[in-house]
């Protein structure tokens, strides 16, 4: 394992110290692993807290700032944060209007955020949660852990963050977050595995011309393995999977996301194929993102997220945002 780290157990805190040093717009509690906006919460604004395992950067810490999150709670690599962290963050961003938790649908994340919500509730802080579960690679059923939360998380955080910035109340902010989740679906493909610093060897093994279709963001497998294919074929596979679940017509927001180790050159090749595919199916991409937004360490691969827009969602997407990883209009 070759990684730019000092030691596996200090990777998250060392990185947080780096985030603190790099971004004067953030306040970082390195020891407790909480990232906050500098200047504290604005009274009357709903606070937005998210978090999850580290290794998905820029998610979530890179999305803390004006128009998006108020706090992020990074856990150890690929391990959800503990309730204590989430509680600290919740307290810090509570400004009288309640707090919305954005939680990706993994048992660990859900349970730890739920515990934190109960503890915060005991302290009189009103907490609402939205569970993001957009990954079509996984069957959604009452009897399983359900679909995983992946790319839609970025969209939910941006759009709910924009509405919170307009001083909407907790019910409205939670509702728009759920609406974005409901209207979004994702599908991911891995060309290579990834290695967590603590484990020191690849989470899974892929052959030299083998890929994993329907990959999750922790290297969890999805639908099946298969041979490597062209960008055009992969776009079709991803969009077929998504189209089986939501319509691909109308105005769409499309994200082509890199898994962390994919050259941007290739992501643009993928975006071109995704865009052609969607055009051919009668959709119109009104907004897009191409880049590394929700990653799996050094994994090579991509994911596609599609969200059906409404005028309101488009307006909130376009609203100013000023975070380390997403910035426009300010």
């Amino acid at each position: 394992m070759k990684k730019l780290i000092n030691a596996p157990d200090t990777v998250v805190t060392d990185a947080l110290a780096g985030v603190a040093a790099a971004h004067p717009s953030l306040v970082v509690d390195v020891e407790n692993k909480v990232i906050l906006r500098a200047g504290g919460p604005r009274p009357g604004k709903v606070g937005l807290v998210s978090g999850g395992g580290s290794g998905h950067e820029p998610l979530h810490g890179g999305f803390v700032g004006y128009g998006m999150l108020d706090a992020a709670c990074p856990g150890e690599v690929f391990t959800s944060p503990v309730p204590d962290q989430v509680l600290l963050a919740t307290r810090a961003v509570s400004a009288g209007a309640g707090v919305l938790q954005v939680v990706k649908n993994y048992t660990g994340d859900v349970l730890n955020f739920q515990m934190a919500a109960e503890l915060a509730g005991d302290e009189g802080i009103e907490v609402a949660s939205v569970i993001v579960n957009d990954d079509v690679a996984v069957e959604d059923s009452l009897y399983t852990a359900g679909r995983r939360g992946v790319g839609a998380t970025v969209l939910v955080e941006k759009i709910a963050g924009a509405l919170a910035e307009e001083d909407a109340d907790l019910t409205a902010v939670a509702a728009v977050a759920r609406e974005v989740n409901d209207r979004s679906r994702s599908f991911g493909v891995a060309l290579t595995s990834c290695t967590t610093p603590a484990a020191g060897k690849p989470t899974f093994e892929l052959g030299g011309s083998e890929i994993e279709l329907g990959i999750g963001i922790h290297g969890e497998p999805g639908r099946h393995r298969g041979p490597m294919r062209s960008a055009r074929e992969l776009a079709a596979v991803a969009l077929d999977a998504i189209a089986a679940d939501i319509p691909l017509d109308g105005e769409l927001l499309v994200m082509v996301n890199g898994m962390g180790g994919t050259p941007l050159l290739e992501l643009y090749v993928m975006y071109n194929e995704v865009a052609s595919c969607i055009r051919a199916r009668g959709g119109r991409i009104a907004r897009n993102l191409v880049g590394n937004y929700i990653t799996s360490l050094e994994m090579q691969g991509f994911s596609v997220t599609v969200c059906g827009l409404t005028d309101t969602l488009t307006r909130l997407w376009d609203a100013p945002v000023d975070t380390p990883a997403l910035r426009w209009g300010r």
């Binding site: 391990t79 730890n112 852990a145 922790h218 969890e220 497998p221």
Partner: protein, 217 residues
């Protein structure tokens, strides 16, 4: 079984988890995200420090828990605060519920321990909604709790009841190999989860076996 036994159990469980850190992580690599051993080892290291009366990470002065119930409750709270992942809250709640079930008792007899196990199982199932057969820690904890209850009902001695507990847990963990996961990360694998032991079931068997071994010593 007095406070010393419970402290020894948790200490021994911590050592066993540390010794099986890589093994548990490898099990999790096969059908999860390769962190179960790492998560639990981190948590049990913190538990060991907490039980030794070390000061809390938040600066609160430490104190050594004085009853079996307090030992388990502190174990659970510490796991919740330090493990993360799915297993953190689940094991945390299990130990906390067990601790609460023991109340303020200075010594624990077999029936009381049986109640604590039932409470732990109920807590895990309430939180995680897994049923037997879903390929989770429940598949070790549930048959172990049942076997322990049956042994008590049959009038078994302490050592035998704890052996029944440990053996049923191990058998339950082994039985997860042929199951298809329906909860937790492994469920994403669908049919491909078959053929691998569930890491949480494996760690549960290790922890319960540690109890038998500590009492047998």
């Amino acid at each position: 079984m007095d406070t010393a036994v419970f402290r020894a159990w948790i200490g021994s469980a911590a050592a066993v988890i540390e010794a099986n850190r890589d093994h548990l992580t490898q099990l999790d690599a096969a059908i999860g995200d390769a962190d179960h051993g790492i998560n639990l080892a981190r948590g049990f290291a913190a538990v060991t420090a907490a039980l030794d009366g070390a000061d809390g990470a938040d600066g609160t002065a430490g104190s050594r828990p004085a009853t079996p119930g307090a030992v388990l409750t502190l174990t659970g709270s510490t796991l919740i605060s330090t493990v993360g992942g799915a297993s953190g809250p689940l094991y945390g709640v299990a130990f906390r519920r067990a601790g609460k079930a023991l109340g303020a008792a200075a010594t624990v007899d077999l029936p009381l321990l049986g109640e604590a196990l039932e409470a732990a199982l109920a807590g895990v199932q309430q939180l995680g909604a897994a049923r037997e057969g879903d390929k989770t820690m429940v598949d070790a904890l549930a048959p172990a709790t049942r076997a322990f209850g049956k042994a008590i009902g049959d009038g078994a001695a302490t050592a035998d009841a704890l052996s029944a507990l440990a053996e049923a847990a191990a058998a339950g963990a082994a039985a997860t190999i042929s199951m298809q996961a329906r909860k937790g990360r492994a469920s994403y694998l669908g049919p491909r989860s078959v053929g691998h032991e569930d890491p949480g079931a494996a760690s549960t068997a290790l922890i319960l076996t540690a109890l038998r071994d500590v009492v047998a010593r």
